[in-house]
């Protein structure tokens, strides 16, 4: 089942990566080649095999005292904001989250 150009456009929309027409062609070719590479995964009979989502099987939660250690972990606001492209006062600044009439806008 090959991925079509339209399929790849849909994935790009979902991944929030705006691709040009030319990039979309290249990406479609790549995606199909890459998915072919994954074929060995589908050749297995995996009935009864548990998945391993993480290499440390017997992980336990790391618990700590509920104390805020400002000196170590909390970023001062000016530090937290210094790498942002656009800020106002104590906040990150973004364009309209509801979008304009022409696009679907919003946060999906």
């Amino acid at each position: 089942m090959a991925l079509s150009r339209e399929d790849v456009q849909g994935i790009a929309d979902y991944a929030r990566i705006a691709l040009t027409d030319e990039e979309l062609d290249e990406m479609t070719a790549y995606m199909n080649e890459a998915v072919d590479l994954l074929e060995p995964i589908r050749q297995y009979d995996l009935d009864g095999v548990d998945p391993t989502f993480h290499p440390i099987g017997d992980l336990s939660n790391v618990m700590g005292e509920d104390i805020i250690d400002d000196s170590v972990r909390a970023l001062p606001i000016d530090v937290a904001l210094k790498n942002a492209g656009s800020t106002r006062d104590r906040y990150f600044r973004v364009p309209s989250i509801l979008g304009t009439d022409e696009d679907e806008g919003g946060i999906a």
């Binding site: 991925l3 790849v8 994935i11 929309d13 979902y14 991944a15 929030r16 990566i17 705006a18 691709l19 990039e23 990406m27 790549y30 995606m31 080649e33 890459a34 998915v35 590479l37 994954l38 074929e39 060995p40 995964i41 589908r42 297995y44 995996l46 095999v49 548990d50 998945p51 391993t52 989502f53 993480h54 290499p55 440390i56 992980l59 939660n61 790391v62 700590g64 972990r73 970023l75 530090v79 937290a80 210094k82 790498n83 942002a84 492209g85 656009s86 990150f92 973004v94 364009p95 309209s96 989250i97 509801l98 979008g99 304009t100 696009d103 679907e104 806008g105 919003g106 946060i107 999906a108």
Partner: protein, 497 residues
């Protein structure tokens, strides 16, 4: 008295401790070597001269005040540019983070500094660690010090090249599928990917969170062991919930014999398509050397390793897509100007901030995690991961370590691997170890018979047997008397101490 590139980490720390030379003199020698050599090697994205001289001055002050010095006192160290260090930018070699200033320091970096190391700068890499040649860096290529027309490997190519050119003594890299061991192999230095959980990932920009592991490069096994001590001695990092306590003295038993111990060899891997004759011959030579040192060679089988690349290229892109979703152009990173909606700003910031391979991996991950596809690939890949892990467990019932190549071939030319999926095969011998979470190390074996470029052997071991791995690595090093040499074109150029 000597060139900085001829001194081991232990020798530098001892010289600083006894006052034979100062940490400041060492830092200046390293800066001089970088100045002279890196114009051609281009291992660094930033050289942190001010931080280096300040750290060295502090080491010298401590000595003058009679305070205790760390085991890496004055040792010049480079960090891969996905590791946060306050006072530097952390770019991941991406336009996305071109101007990102570190707001905190990674635990692995801090522990090296706590041991007295001098931070020389940030090393080039494949963008967000996606690659095996460092060619996907958004800023510039890094040249292999052994042949500057060839790649240094990747993704930690800058870290490997800086050590191979003798610009620094030790560097740190990260390894998600082979990104320490493969560039170490191509640059003729020792590179170790410790067991998953052995070294904290806190402050290292995440790629594949269940696969990523930080580890050191050095020109000798001893230097790598010293770095492992620095990285692990303070125990578990409370800021990385997957970090495990594994503080042992990695120098202890380093010189012990491997007599009576068992080395596994996987016949199918030695016949693998793509493995060049010169690498195979060298790896067989390393097996013979361990046998001569008294170890017993045993054949073991890892039947499911043949599916490791497929499993990896499901798991890693999915984790990468999840991790890189944070780059939305709002809180940090490249932000597209003039957008009317947040959705447009996000899509264009990501489109123009990320390079091609970073987009490819995220697109693949987005697809594989989508409804209906998840059950076909993602879940089965995690089941295959179980089979690969079980293969290793069975094999390690019969042997202490497994010996195999690290890279199927020596360094290739720029542009030679133009097809992305062809590049993925560069990690054919390293990737399964990340899937299982075990440790592995690449040890240089001198130059290949045909290419006259560095070749290496990889040793893999069970989880948390990293000290034993170093002992075998040292045994190989001893029998080859192949203490990683500085690439001849750069040895002795600048860097007089």
């Amino acid at each position: 008295m000597a060139n900085i590139d001829q001194l081991s980490a232990a020798r530098i720390a001892a010289g600083v401790a006894t006052g034979e030379f100062s940490a400041t003199e060492v830092a200046k020698a390293s800066l001089d070597a970088i100045e002279v050599r890196d114009e051609k090697v281009q291992a660094f994205l930033q050289v942190s001269s001010d931080l280096a001289l300040a750290a060295a001055a502090e080491t010298d002050r401590r000595r003058a005040a009679g305070e205790k010095l760390g085991p890496l006192a004055g040792v010049p160290v480079a960090f891969k540019d996905n590791m946060h260090l306050v006072g530097t930018r952390t770019t991941c070699a991406s336009k996305m983070l071109e101007n990102y200033e570190s707001t905190f320091t990674a635990t692995c970096v801090q522990r090296m500094l706590d041991a007295g190391a001098t931070p020389m700068g940030k090393a080039n890499m494949d963008e967000f660690a996606f690659g095996s040649s460092t060619e996907s860096s958004a800023f510039h290529r890094t040249n292999n010090p052994w042949d500057t027309e060839r790649v240094p490997g990747g993704s930690s190519g800058g870290s490997a090249a800086a050590v191979a050119a003798g610009e620094v003594t030790i560097s740190l890299g990260s390894d998600t599928g082979g990104s320490i061991r493969q560039p170490a192999s191509l640059c003729g230095v020792v590179g170790m990917k410790p067991t998953y959980g052995a070294v904290s990932r806190y402050g290292v920009v995440a790629f594949g969170s269940s696969l990523d592991q930080v580890g050191p490069f050095g020109r000798s096994v001893e230097d790598v062991a010293l770095a492992m001590n620095a990285l692990t001695a303070a125990g578990r990092d409370p800021y990385d919930s997957t970090s495990q306590p594994c503080a042992v003295d990695f120098l202890e038993h380093l010189e012990d014999s491997v007599e009576g111990m068992r080395v596994g060899v996987v016949p199918a891997l030695m016949e693998a398509a793509g493995l060049t004759a010169e690498v195979r011959t060298a790896v067989e030579g390393a097996a013979k050397a361990l046998e001569n040192a008294g170890a017993e060679l045993v054949e073991v089988d890892l039947p499911n390793i043949k599916s490791a690349i497929a499993a990896y290229y499901v798991i890693a892109p999915c984790e990468a897509f999840s991790n890189l979703a944070r780059f939305d152009g709002v809180r940090y990173g490249y932000q597209e100007e003039g957008c009317l909606s947040l959705a447009e700003q996000t899509s264009k910031s990501r489109a123009h901030g990320f390079g091609e391979e970073a987009k490819r991996r995220q697109m693949l991950g987005a697809y594989l995690l989508s409804s209906g596809v998840y059950d076909k690939y993602y879940y089965p890949a995690q089941q295959v991961r179980t089979l690969i892990t079980q293969d290793y467990k069975r094999a390690y019932e019969q042997c202490d370590v497994i010996l195999m190549p690290a890279s199927p071939r020596t360094a290739f030319k720029f542009g030679e691997m133009s097809d992305p999926t062809q590049m993925y095969a560069s990690d054919m011998f390293t990737i399964s170890n990340n899937i299982a979470g075990n440790g592995g190390i690449s040890v240089p074996l001198g130059l290949g018979a045909e290419s006259h470029l560095p070749v290496s052997v990889q040793l893999q071991g069970p989880a948390f047997s990293d000290r034993k791995l170093l002992r075998f690595a040292r045994a190989v090093e001893k029998s080859f008397s192949a203490r990683g040499a500085v690439a001849p074109e750069f040895a002795g150029k600048g860097g007089e101490l």
